[in-house]
Every structure is written in structure tokens, then in C-alpha cells.
Subunit: 148 residues, 2 copies
């Protein structure tokens, strides 16, 4: 007598042949379209996207030395570091981050995640399902932020 | 030049005097009102509740031997085990769960989390901000589920 449990499930977090981690029965996706923005060695999994929830919980895994795009947008980010370590840039500040740290990023604040050179960085990121597209920095903004 | 970073933050997951864990600058709340439903040794933290997100990410920590309420509701649960181990009942099935397992619970499916006797169980739970109140099992339902 399984009470409507057809979709209820337990999925495991397991190592992959390439040393990365993924959940069973969750597709591992490209982070973004190649060439659409600068990034390096990062994958994406959508963990939860329930019909009654206007939110998406995604998992990003950045390989050692990799990074996400430096970007900003109107929607907020709620991030929890799940695996490994690295740094997060928030505006002009850079913070070392490790497992279970919570990171919040407010609207229109520039942000970027880097994995450590010798360690991956895996993080959960909660966003609204309906959200604006990220903006990329122009040369002036890159100079103001002190990034190449 | 902090670009609107007044609320952006990094918060750390740190041990408490009682051996439990909590995040800096996040209140640790009662799980529920005492006496409102059966439960044992469980606390609650609301990690993320952004104005632009119609979702709440909560962290529940169950002490060794403790458990959440056996209940069901229309809203779905999206759960990620963050710390320790235990079991989850989903309908009439019981699954062992450990760190980083994902658990989804569909509408109106009875569910309950137990920490192991010798280990806490900490889990993230994503829900819609607007959601229905949990239902408790009556005696017939408890018998059908095989619980005392």
C-alpha cells in the first residue's frame, strides 16, 4: 500500500568516474552555453523543481581551479557550500568559503565563485524559477572591481 | 566601494555548546509548539527566505534518538541530508539516509524523519512559503502504517 509514493524518492550523492560527484537520477548539465560568458570547469544539476514551488534548487560543481561567471542580476542568490572549498567574490570583497557556509547575494551585486587550485567547490544555489538574465561586467566595471 | 552589499553575507556553520550545529546569525527556533503534535529533540533554523523567492529553505537538526512528526500535507518537500544519519519513512517504506541524500516527498504522502540512536540527523528542507498545514494520522491510519 504505497500511498501516492510514485514520485517520492531517495537519491544518493555518488562519485563519478571523473572524480566529481552527482546525484543518481539527476542529469548533469552544462553550466551555460559555451562562449556565452566566461567560466571554467563547472557543471550544473537541478535538484528540486516542484510544481508547487516557485523556486529551483541547483547544485554546481566547480573543478579545482575552475570558476563561475562574474555576473550580477536583480534576483537574489541563496547559496550553501556542500563540498570542498574555494572563494566567493561579493562586490569588491573576497571570502574564503568551505563546507556548509551560507552565502547570500543581494540584487545587482557582482559575484563569482572560484574553486581552490587543489580542491573542487560544490554548492547549492536557490533561485526563483522566474528570474532575470545575468549581466556581465563591462571594461569599466572590471577595472573598478580589480579583475582582469 | 561595496556595491549594495549591505545584506550579502557569508555565515558559518559552527558547533554549539550542546554539540549541535547552527549557523551564525540565524536564530535556532522550536520545531513546533510543544504539545501541538508528537516529536522529539528537534530544532529548526530558517536559512533563506528572500523577498523575491516564494520558497523557504529550513534546516532541521534532530538529536540522536529524536524524530520529526509523522504527518502529511498537500505541499511537497524537497530534503537534502546535511549531517549525520537516520531513517526516513515515506508512506509504508523506510529508507536509511545519510549525508547528501536527496529525499522528495509528494503531496499527501505520510513521512517522518528519525535520527539514528547514536547519531544526529540534520537536513535541509525546501518548501513553498505559502503552504497548507500538516495533517496528523488518526488511529486507523497509524494502524495501516504499522506505527504505534
Amino acid at each position: 500500500m504505497r500511498q501516492g509514493a510514485t514520485m517520492s524518492s531517495v537519491r544518493r550523492f555518488v562519485p563519478d568516474a571523473d572524480g566529481g560527484y552527482r546525484w543518481d537520477a539527476v542529469d548533469r548539465l552544462r553550466y551555460k552555453e559555451e562562449g556565452s560568458a566566461p567560466f571554467k570547469d563547472i557543471t550544473r544539476q537541478v535538484l528540486f523543481e516542484q510544481p508547487d514551488q516557485a523556486a529551483q534548487l541547483r547544485y554546481f560543481e566547480v573543478a579545482p581551479g575552475g570558476y563561475s561567471t562574474l555576473e550580477r542580476h536583480q534576483h537574489t542568490h541563496a547559496v550553501l557550500i556542500l563540498r570542498g572549498r574555494g572563494t566567493v567574490r561579493i562586490g569588491t570583497d573576497t571570502h574564503a568559503v568551505g563546507e556548509r557556509d551560507l552565502v547570500t547575494v543581494d540584487p545587482l551585486v557582482w559575484h563569482q565563485f572560484h574553486a581552490a587550485p587543489d580542491c573542487p567547490l560544490g554548492f547549492l544555489c536557490l533561485v526563483a524559477r522566474e528570474r532575470d538574465r545575468p549581466q556581465l561586467p563591462g571594461e569599466d566595471e572590471r577595472n573598478a572591481l580589480g579583475v582582469r
